[in-house]
Symmetry: D2
Subunit: 139 residues, 4 copies
């Protein structure tokens, strides 16, 4: 298996929306992607918590990047659907995402993302969990 | 029933993340919220399509705003979970969202959001559909 | 387009689990399937309501049957994932399901199912709504 | 904390639909429920695989039972929504479910269920994964 780590790196950072949110890639491996966002005011909803859309974006994009590590050259992935549970109102210094592929496949890849907030005392709180279905596209 | 239309307006526009994305409110009614984003390069993923996270954010926030029209003074809503199906790769001039409450409730409100792209010939293409569960919080 | 109505009829009734639940087919059309179950004690959960699993089964199977009307000869569908919101505790004489395809496709078909209970006064109450992603398999 | 293990046992076995499917309880602990079904022809869909509705029922009911271990006397749970990914066509001797609570709460409890098939050689294959949102009801 030739892991598409370079392609995954390109995908993660090549999306203007991801750059504008400040998403940063931390770790890549076969079927795995770790990432984070340093939280600023712009990521908040009306009550000062991290907007569900920010969490969903990081969960989806990191899951897609984890999937890309497993596809063949010339293929790409598109999110077919995802579901996210927001477990707690999220506040902290960073939003940290750990995505991993639950089930690889030639047509569909299923990945999961766990979203944590990093607190001032360095502890992590699980704030969201997502399941993402990615369609593999042959160009 | 006293519709919380002013509160809904405040919620829609009071979220820094929503403002930074350029989300705009078009219409509010009992259990209904219509909104849109004028699409720019910053909303794209790596292949030039609208990022799933942008669609998810608009779907979630508009659903929450639709729910807020139905709650009591002093209450607020938090997204408990949502699921979104990305039906087609999305491209166009605007992203248009129509959210409506499927089931009101004292503890949970279920809403649906349909996301369309507005094309240059003024036609609309359905690109995503989301179901959003909102928890009603008593302050 | 050659609708696969005969094949859809065969699929609906050819599943032993569906027969054992008493699911019956009412109507078939392009991308549409209506069905029902006459409710008995065996469909209940511990508090006397219709079990979520019964509602999910009818929602999934009818959505799959709606999808089958649109595929080619020699293809079949498998549920890739579904999500169901149980909107109200369900009780009544019949469980009625209306499924329709939201987005056809060569690889994935997305369908929605609305589940109603039929009351003694002939009224229908919406008790659940599901979104179903079906994978199209080429044999 | 007084675990409601007796109540959980009663819930698991007190649902006629669960009994009719042959679901059996294997293990109960704080926020944990393991269960299984010995597979028969009646659990199949039209192609001989385990019907998605059977997997969904076991996933939902076991998740609910895991949640019941954590609630107070006089409370009960109702499934608000669930999402299940069917990862592989499922075939085997038994369907085995491992459910655990991801996030307890006074209003909502989020649980996950992993569904495996037990093969003739005693190996387990992960065939489905579900996320279940349970509403806590005060009688």
């Amino acid at each position: 298996m030739n892991l598409q780590l370079d392609e995954a790196r390109r995908i993660f950072s090549g999306a203007p929306f991801i750059t504008s949110l400040g998403c940063q890639l931390d770790q890549l491996d076969a079927g795995v992607c770790h990432s984070h966002i340093i939280l600023e005011d712009m990521h908040q909803q009306q009550d000062g918590y991290v907007h569900a859309g920010v969490q969903a974006t990081l969960a989806d994009h990191s899951a897609g990047t984890a999937a890309v590590t497993l596809i063949d050259k010339g293929q790409r992935v598109l999110t077919a659907e995802f579901k996210i549970n927001l477990l707690r109102a999220a506040k902290g210094q960073q939003l940290i995402c750990r995505s991993s592929v639950l089930k690889p496949g030639r047509v569909l890849i299923i990945a999961e993302s766990e979203i944590y907030t990093l607190q001032a005392d360095s502890s992590l709180i699980l704030v969201a969990k997502a399941t993402v279905t990615l369609a593999v596209i042959n160009n």
